[in-house]
Symmetry: C2
Subunit: 330 residues, 2 copies
């Protein structure tokens, strides 16, 4: 009931965003530049970030449509970063479909991605001049941070010296700051005061960290049908998630030796590697650590939301959405 109601609300926002995205006017030529953009925007995506922007504008009594250009900027920026990250990560699939660089080649994915980054600024610039400096200040900062996050992520793959603090900082930059900004930008469009907008940023940034930790958790302990991904993918890739880093921190003696030997093994049966590492995670009680960590960030997020001096009723949609997203598969 709660879930259904929330999802209906979110669907309204998604529809507004999807209509906005469908109506983007591209120049006639060169089509090679725009086709990949229309493709990536059309193969799905939950539109969570732009929905947060619209929802946050409404929280401060601004009509959702007035925040649409900003919401679109957020979604286009997010897709720009996916297009370029997929090249760097050599990812063959995105949302179950071929990635742009697989379909059209790396050069196209670079240039169309560049174009999307510029487009995101074009949409931000559609706002009235009184809010433009604040919007740009947030957008410029988080855009740079998302690049920093991607660089840290790539560096971490090559390093054996990553701890949980490093990891949290990486996911904060790569994922969470954009969730925070999605809310903050909507609040700025709604012309609420700076303090409220910053509290919403904090709320979103901390929710973003909790969402990413939940993704780490679900990759191993989730229901593959609901999660929409192969279970254990992170384990097979030796991905340095919270789970693995915590296990490396806690494991002792034979457990540590076993864990490291799995990480170094070149040939193995995938099911065997997954089940052995999951057994170790269970033995070390990793699930409870990650859930505590998620609770820590969720608590900060909701405290920030609580501090915003507006009627509780107005905060309900965000609170419900966050709670729905945080328990979606458990």
């Amino acid at each position: 009931m709660l879930f259904k109601e929330t999802m209906q609300e979110v669907k309204l926002y998604q529809d507004i965003v999807n209509e906005g995205l469908r109506n983007i006017k591209f120049p006639e030529e060169p089509t090679d530049l725009y086709e990949p953009i229309q493709y990536l925007l059309s193969i799905g995506g939950k539109r969570l970030r732009p929905a947060l922007t619209l929802l946050s504008a409404e929280m401060f009594d601004c009509e959702a449509h007035a925040a649409l250009p900003t919401a679109m900027a957020v979604e286009i920026f997010h897709n720009f970063s996916l297009m370029h990250d997929d090249i760097m990560d050599k990812a063959p699939l995105r949302r179950g479909e071929a990635t742009v660089h697989e379909k059209w080649g790396t050069n196209t994915a670079i240039l169309s991605g560049d174009f999307m980054l510029i487009q995101s600024y074009q949409f931000i610039s559609r706002n009235e001049s009184s809010v433009l400096p604040s919007l740009l200040s947030v957008f410029n900062r988080i855009a740079a941070e998302v690049c920093m996050g991607q660089q840290f992520d790539m560096n971490f793959e090559k390093s054996n010296n990553i701890n949980i603090t490093d990891y949290i900082e990486m996911i904060r930059l790569k994922t969470a700051v954009l969730i925070g900004a999605s809310l903050q930008l909507g609040a700025i469009v709604a012309k609420t005061d700076d303090t409220n907008a910053k509290l919403l940023y904090q709320c979103g940034e901390n929710l973003g960290i909790a969402f990413q930790l939940q993704d780490d958790l679900l990759d191993v302990f989730g229901d593959s049908a609901k999660f929409g991904k192969q279970i254990g993918g992170d384990i097979l890739e030796n991905k340095k998630t919270f789970l693995l880093l915590k296990a490396l921190e806690l494991a002792e003696e034979e457990d540590k030796i076993e864990l490291i030997s799995w990480l170094n093994k070149k040939e193995y049966k995938p099911v065997e590697k997954i089940s052995s590492i999951v057994n170790l995670y269970n033995k070390l009680n990793i699930q409870s650590y990650i859930k505590d960590e998620m609770k820590h960030y969720t608590d900060i997020a909701f405290s920030a939301l609580n501090e915003i001096p507006i009627a509780e009723k107005k905060k309900e949609p965000l609170r419900r959405l966050a709670e729905t997203l945080l328990v979606r598969n458990q």
Copy 2:
């Protein structure tokens, strides 16, 4: 004398820009993201575009330093486009040094380039809010156009159906609009009226086309020592420049057969290919056509400059710089 005096003026602008670039504050980490940026900005470059921005601000009585953030945005944007174009063009060298993707790999060149594009917006955003919407409107437009120009350029390489109109439109987008914007943005910072700023844009765009045509000319007929590039490089690459397209348009019978056979030849002595094609260009009088075309665009540029209702004396630095650049090797 004229040359020396102009170059001294330009050097003052270059010094301001270079100092600004040296003083950019980068976050401490991740250094992998910033090193390639500092590298590309440090291996030279004439700083022509930011010099135009400073010069144009001064033309309208605005102190050059007040336009420095905007000038830096222009230069950083230009270097972003070089970093990404060099990946797409598989270029091993830039300004005589290894390109970023050669030195650090494609992923680094993609991500550091993205960071520079964002940085260019950070510098634009340092302007006061009264001029920000106009600056963004110009910057957003030309940034998108530069991407379009690069896409056309890549498409043209694969096409045998390009005419001179297509070519001029491609170099307009890829090169000239940024020259135009460099002047227009400086004028906007100086708070001159919209008409003057647009006239300066026209001046710059048309000069930009003339500069590129001159580059085509010098690649074949220039003095390699002064030009700083291998003579005939475009000929060896079968690059569809104004010279080649005009020759293909004008050549008849045996000349056309000879030209096309050179373009299709897989094995040849470079000197022989260059001298044969140069002979054809001379026979067809291609130099006079390209010089007429340059004059056409230069005339439009100077007419636009003439229309700006300010004292002639204030226009002198731009006029002198343009004339110096347009005759630098002839």
